[in-house]
Structures are given as C-alpha cells and as structure tokens.
C-alpha cells in the first residue's frame, strides 16, 4: 500500500530521515514513535506526498510519488485520511462543513444522514453547527478524525492525535482508530505516548516503528 524503498528526506543540506525501507501493508496498524523532532511528522508527510523523498523512492498505491502530477497528488489525498496535529480547520466554516470539506473539494454530494451518523460516531452531534474556535481540544481532534474518514479512505494517518487531550479522550480517540482498523483501514499513529501504545496492545495487533538516529527501526514483534 505504502512502500519506502531506501528512501530519505533532507532539507537545506541536512538529512532528516535516511535509508528507510518498509511497507505499510493493507489493514495493518502501526504506531510511529520517537522523541520530539525525530521526524515523525516528516515521515507522515512523505506518506501523503506533502513532502517528496529526496533519496530513494516512495510508492503509494503502487505509484511512484516522484512521478505524480499535482492533480494526481490531489486524487491520492482523497484516498488517505490525515488527522493533523493542529487539525487544520477552516475557521469560517462550521463543524459540519469542515467535516464535509473533502466531499466538497471532490465535487461529491454530501448525504446529510451519513454526515449525521459520522458526527454521532465521534460524539459531536451537539456541536454540528459550532465554529472550530468554539470547540475544545478533544472535540477538534474527533472532528479531524471524522473529516479524515468521510471519504472512506484506505489509509488513515494520525499525527499526535492525543497530543492535546486528556487520558480519557486519548482512549476514546484510540478506540475510534481501532474500530477503523477493524473495518480494514490501514492506520498509522504518530505518538510519543508509550502509555497509549501499551493500552492499544490488548485491542489490536499493532507494530511499532521507532525513528532513531534518522532511521526507522521496526520493533518487529507485536506489542
């Protein structure tokens, strides 16, 4: 699904990630961990082609990201749901419009019932008309998750989804991501929260990718 072939990424003459070779298989569940600044967000950006590998190659759904045109990148991103660390909402649109944004940009009709079910699934039915600045950290993260899955993507990438929420909310978000994985989605969660990773152990077969010294180290075994 997403394959790194000896891939690396550097910027301004500095190598941030190097010699990465791994495969994110369909339906797999991965935690991406490592200290702050290790390159977790950079790794995720390579997975949805916000960044392009400067060494080696990355293929997504079998396509080499170096050969993708801008429209192809746009189409690719419709198949990958991303929960950004800072959520990335449009503050002038309400929660429902923000969640439905991927449908709007893809020119697809939105089914109000489906949208309502989705907001209900993430527990945000009451906040449907609220503007993003009116939402709490946890509500924003759940809304970002709802937006990430509305196009029914094959891959879900979450960058520190529990970074700004309390433990109960972290568990709730984790549960939602596990549910998605059970539906067959590939899930990658970037986090430095080891408690969360341990908590997931009892619910899902997850693999841990650890970034250390600019390289990906696969823990290999299940948690």
């Amino acid at each position: 699904m997403i394959e790194f072939h000896d891939a690396g990424y550097g910027y301004g003459g500095r190598e941030l990630l190097t010699e990465m070779s791994l495969t994110l298989a369909p339906g797999s569940f991965h935690f991406l961990t490592g200290p702050s600044g290790a390159g977790k967000t950079t790794f995720l950006k390579l997975c949805y082609r916000e960044l392009q590998a400067t060494a080696g190659r990355v293929t997504i759904f079998g396509e080499d990201t170096r050969e993708m045109g801008r429209d192809e990148v746009a189409n690719l991103r419709r198949k990958i749901g991303v929960v950004h660390q800072d959520c990335q909402f449009l503050d002038h649109l309400n929660l429902t419009e923000n969640v439905a944004l991927p449908l709007s940009v893809a020119g697809r009709e939105r089914d109000d019932q489906d949208l309502s079910d989705l907001l209900n699934w993430v527990g945000l039915s009451e906040q449907a008309k609220a503007l993003p600045p009116e939402l709490s950290g946890g509500e924003r993260q759940r809304a970002a998750l709802a937006r990430a899955v509305i196009m029914s993507p094959d891959v879900i990438l979450a960058d520190e989804p529990t970074g700004n929420v309390d433990w109960d909310m972290s568990l709730r978000l984790l549960q939602l991501l596990i549910e998605l994985n059970r539906m067959g989605k590939t899930v990658v969660i970037a986090t430095h929260d080891l408690h969360l990773i341990r908590q997931a152990k009892s619910h899902v077969q997850a693999r841990v990718l650890r970034i250390s010294n600019r390289r990906i180290q696969q823990s290999g075994a299940d948690l």
Binding site: R77, Q88, L90, E97, L101, V105, G107
Partner: protein
Amino acid sequence: MRTILLPFLTFSESASGRVVPPSGFTAQLTVITAAAMAFLAVFALALSMATGRLADRWGTELARGSTVRISAPEDQIEAQVAAALKVLETTPGVAEARLLSKDEETALLEPWFGPSLPLDDLALPALIDVQETSEGFDAEGLRLRLAGEAPGAVLDDHSRWRRPLVRAAERIRLLGVISLVLITGVTAGMITLAANAALAANAQVIRTLRLVGATDRFVARAFVNRFTFRGFSGALIGTFFGMVAIALLPNADEAGSFLTGLGFAGPEWLWPMLIPVLAALVAYVATRIAAAQTLRRLM
C-alpha cells in the same frame, strides 16, 4: 453563502467559493476601484469617439469644400463675383460654385457676433462656396486664373487649417485609445495585486484545501470567480455612472455648431457596455495567472 460586496450588491457563491473566507473591506475596495476605472474608461471612450467623429467630419466633409472670398471696392464687387463664378464654372474638378446669400453669411458669423448683426453696416467680402468633384481641382492653377480675372478673389481650400486639425483630432483619438489600454492595464495590475494579497492572506486555507484533496483548479476557481464578479460588478457600476455623466453633458447644438459634443452618438452608446465584460475578462485572466503562480509554489 452570500458575500456582501457593497450594501446594495451581493452574490451567492458556489461550493468552491464558500471555502475561501469572505474578505470584507478588500472586496469592497476591489469593486470601488474597478468602478472608478470603468468610469474613467467611459470618458476615454467618449473622448476617443468624439474626436474620431471630428476627424472624420473635417477629413471628409470639408475635404471637398472650398471657399472663394472676394474683397473689392463696392462698385467692382459684382463684376468680380461674376468673373470668379465664370472661372469656377470652367474649372475642371469643380462640381458646383454658389454665391452665399446675406442670410447665409449672417448665419456663419452668428456664433461670433450674435444674431442681431447689422450686416449692411459692414463691408463684408462676398463668399462663393465651391464643391469639388471626387477628382478635385488644381488649386494653384485656379488661384492664378482667379488672380487674372478677379484680382480681389482669394481661394481658401481649407487645407491650411484643416490638415493640422484633422491630425490633432486623430492624435486625440489615439490618446483616447492609449488611455483605454492604460486603464485596462492598471485594472489588470490592481486586480492582480488584490488577488495576490487574497491568496497570500489565505495561504493556510489553500494548504488545508490541498491537504484534503483539492485540485489547483478547484482552489483557483474559488478566487477567480470571486475576483471576476468583483471586477464585473464594479465596472458595471462605474460604466453606469459614466454613461449618465456623459448623457448629462450639454449637447453639441447648445454648445455651438462648431464643436462636436463629447459623448456617444446613436449606436456608439453600445460600446461602453463592453467595459464591464472587458473588466470581467481582465479580472478572470489576472486572477488565474496570480492563482496559478501561487499554487505552483505549494506542494
């Protein structure tokens, strides 16, 4: 979503337009600037067309008209007029030669001296209106013959003063056209600046849209539609007021028959209606280029 551009001007946006936040004052400024440019464009167009008419009139109507002026002592004038008419009748290239009546001379002098001119008290020269054939006549030959037959006759073929006037009118028409080109350029520049400012101010919005799968076309459309509408609506307002201002100018008859009024005649009134269409086209192209340049910088 309805975007209010001016208190009396609103428009509903498509899905792509709604994703860009309303920009309030900037939007109004774009509309007002487009209106001002269109207002000026109406005047430049009117100037261009009026001077065009003037050049055409002087260039065609007067081209075939000449005047023979006869100044002579009272007891000789009749004989010299008769001699001059005879010379003119036998001159190749002269279609018609006609002595102007006292009433016609009065009418010619009226703009300068008023309607109650006592012609009988003035020693006015006799005037013969000469119409040329399409081939025209030999002005130098005619002058020599008139000098022999009627020494008080002076041929004025209008060329001395007509040519520089026609040239001046044509230059003014060219200036009008250049003004229109400059106004178009300034409008394009102004809309490009406004579009660039809007794109820069919405860089985060554009990034978010790209991250959720928006194509460049979708993002550009949001801005292009908005600025095209602003350019069009502003120009529509400016053109309307420009046309009203032109219509309210004193007409040519009131100002004097010599002057051709600054304005439009007949079907020429349709020309200013193209200004809003041109403004929309300029806004469309300028915003598309600005959006394409900005989006190319984003991954």
